[in-house]
Every structure is written in C-alpha cells, then in structure tokens.
C-alpha cells in the first residue's frame, strides 16, 4: 500500500481538480439566461462531450476495460443499443443484454 501522505494528496487533488469545473459552472450559470443562444450551445457542447466520452470508454478505454478485446466491447455495446431501440427505447432490456453478453464473452474468450 502507498504511504498515507500520497493517498491523501492524490485523493484531495482529484476531488479539487473535479470541483473546480463545477464551481466555475455555478459562476457562469448565474449570468446566463435559459432563453439565450449561449445556453443552448453549452447544452449541445455537453452532449458532444458525453458522446465523445462514451465512444472513448468503449473503443479506447483507460481503465480495466482494456482487458476485454475491442471486438467483445463493440459487439456487446452495439447489441445493448440495438435491444434498447428494439424494445421501444426501454433502458432495462438494453443494459441487461449488453452487460450479459459482455460478461458471457469474457468467460468464453479464453476458450476461443
């Protein structure tokens, strides 16, 4: 285990580095009207960032997901999305199908 000092600095650093964005958001938000074009632009920017984040998490994951092959990640993700739309945009069937398939393929992958 790392020494306690490293753990504390790392934890507080990570929390502070995230909170800065939130605090800046509160400051800017106080000056923006929901009727303005800037407000719509910022909303759309959020969607674009989330779209990019999701794609990166699936295709080029930073974390432990990298252990699973790209094929497994992509196939499970597409299957999950497909079931979401086929079931009339219901979240449960989509997520269960995708995660179930992913876990199954992970169990099978050493055998293939």
């Amino acid at each position: 285990m790392d020494n306690i000092q490293t753990v504390v600095v790392l934890t507080l650093g990570g929390i502070g580095a995230t909170y800065i964005w939130r605090a800046m958001g509160v400051v800017f938000a106080a000056r923006i009207s929901t009727e303005s074009a800037i407000f719509l632009w910022v909303t759309v920017v959020s969607y674009a960032m989330l779209g990019g984040l999701i794609a990166r998490m699936i295709v080029m994951p930073i974390g432990p997901l990298g252990e699973a092959s790209l094929t497994v990640r992509l196939v499970s993700f597409i299957a999950g999305l497909a079931f979401f739309f086929l079931s009339g945009k219901r979240i449960f069937p989509g997520v269960v199908t995708g995660v179930g398939l992913f876990t199954l393929l992970q169990y099978l992958s050493p055998m293939i």
Binding site: R22, S46, Q106
Partner: protein, 237 residues
C-alpha cells in the same frame, strides 16, 4: 405542470430508485473492487466516489496512479477527464431558478450533478414548477449518491467474492448505460451532437489524449449548434 411538493418528491423517488440507483450501485461495485485490487484504502475509494462523483475521472485517477504517473499528472489527468462538468453545470443550474440568496447553495448542489441527474433534470424539469425543481434534484441526487457510496463499499469489501469477469462487466455497464440514457433524446441538436461527438472523441484522443474531451465539446458542440441553427428548443433526453 406539477405544483404539489409531495408529488414532486414522489416523482424524484420513483425516478431515482430504479435504473439510476441500480446502475450506480453496480458500477461503483466495479470501482470499489478495482480500488481494492490496486491496494489502496477503502476510505480513499469512498472519498473518490463522493468527492469526484463521476466514474470516468475516478477510473483515470486509479489507473494513472497504478501506471506510475506522478501526482501532478494524475491530478491533471482527472481535471481533463472531468471538464464535462463545466458545460453540464452551466446548462443545468439556470433550470433551477432560486432567489439570489440561494446562489451560495448552488455551490453545494453542483457537487451532486452527474450524467444521471443531469439527464433526469433535463427530462423532468419542464413538467415541474420552477421553485420545486431543487426539491426533485436534491432527492434524486441524494439517492444516487447513497447508492453509489454503498456500491463502492460493497465492491471493496467483497472483491474476493466477485468473479473478475463480473466485476469487469459492471464497469462495462457504465458507458452502455450512459449511451442508452442519452440515445433516447428526441431533439435533433442533441442527437447530432452525440453522433458528431463520438467519432470526434476518438479522433482527438488519438491526436491529443489530454485535451480530447475539451476539443470534442468545443468542435462537436459548435458543429451541431450551427447545423441546427433554426431549432431553438432545449433538448430533453
């Protein structure tokens, strides 16, 4: 328009105790077990979940640290991974109007914002009387945070009981859940932003991994904004 406070509370409870709480519980189980496997303390796992409150940034912190990056670069990495909170907070707070004296409380409320509460607020707020939206948001956020913290502890403590494939599947659940949560959006500007943002996210990650999300947001968001200039409604997921 819902104007009864109790009805708003019931709606918040019903919306939160379902998929959001469930997904957070299980994806944070995946995170808790990762922290344990990385030989880091339980208190740190809990502090990261409640303090960062965004799985991508939490994963970035643990992974970069394990990979041996210096504290400075780990913290920088977390900051860049979480830059999305700036536009998310800016596009969310004005939807919950309050007296100017309440501005200070916005700094506390901003901590609870996540993809879940952001999407839930954008979807529900138009049906809720403006003064009651904070009530919805706080209840929804507290339930989400409670289940996220509970999941972190469960995952940390039960790491030996949890097969590795399942822990990995729980982490995979996160991007998939985000995707289906947002893919249902009807407004064209939002849908275009998501679809344009996805390939741009990959492209910018290859070119400049540190600034990928900032550039994706600025370029992809602006493209979607100008492509749909005639539509001026706030997108509801």
């Amino acid at each position: 328009m819902i104007s009864d406070p109790r009805a708003v509370s019931r709606l918040a409870l019903r919306d939160a105790i379902g998929f959001p709480a469930f997904t957070l519980l299980f994806s944070m189980i995946g995170f808790g077990s990762l922290v344990h496997q990385s030989d880091l303390p339980l208190l740190m796992a809990v502090a990261l979940t409640a303090g960062i409150w965004g799985l991508p940034g939490q994963l970035t912190l643990v992974e970069m640290h394990i990979a041996g990056a210096s504290i400075f670069f780990v913290v920088l990495g977390v900051a860049l991974a979480n830059a999305r909170f700036l536009p998310m907070v800016v596009s969310f707070m004005p939807l919950m109007p309050g007296r100017s004296s309440r501005l200070a409380s916005n700094f506390a409320l901003a901590q609870m914002l996540s993809i879940n509460s952001w999407a839930a607020g954008l979807r529900r707020f138009p049906d809720i009387q403006p003064e009651l939206r904070r009530r919805y948001y706080v209840l929804f956020g507290m339930i989400c945070m409670g289940s996220g913290v509970a999941g972190t502890v469960i995952g940390y403590v039960s790491v030996a009981l949890l097969p590795h494939e399942i822990a990995l599947g729980l982490i995979f659940m996160n991007p998939l859940f985000f995707a289906v949560l947002l893919a249902g959006v009807k407004a064209r500007p939002a849908l275009i932003a998501l679809l344009v943002g996805a390939p741009l996210g990959l492209l910018f990650h290859l070119i400049t991994p540190d600034l990928d999300l900032l550039l994706t947001g600025a370029v992809g968001g602006s493209l979607a904004f100008f492509m749909t200039k005639k539509e001026r409604a706030i997108p509801r997921p």
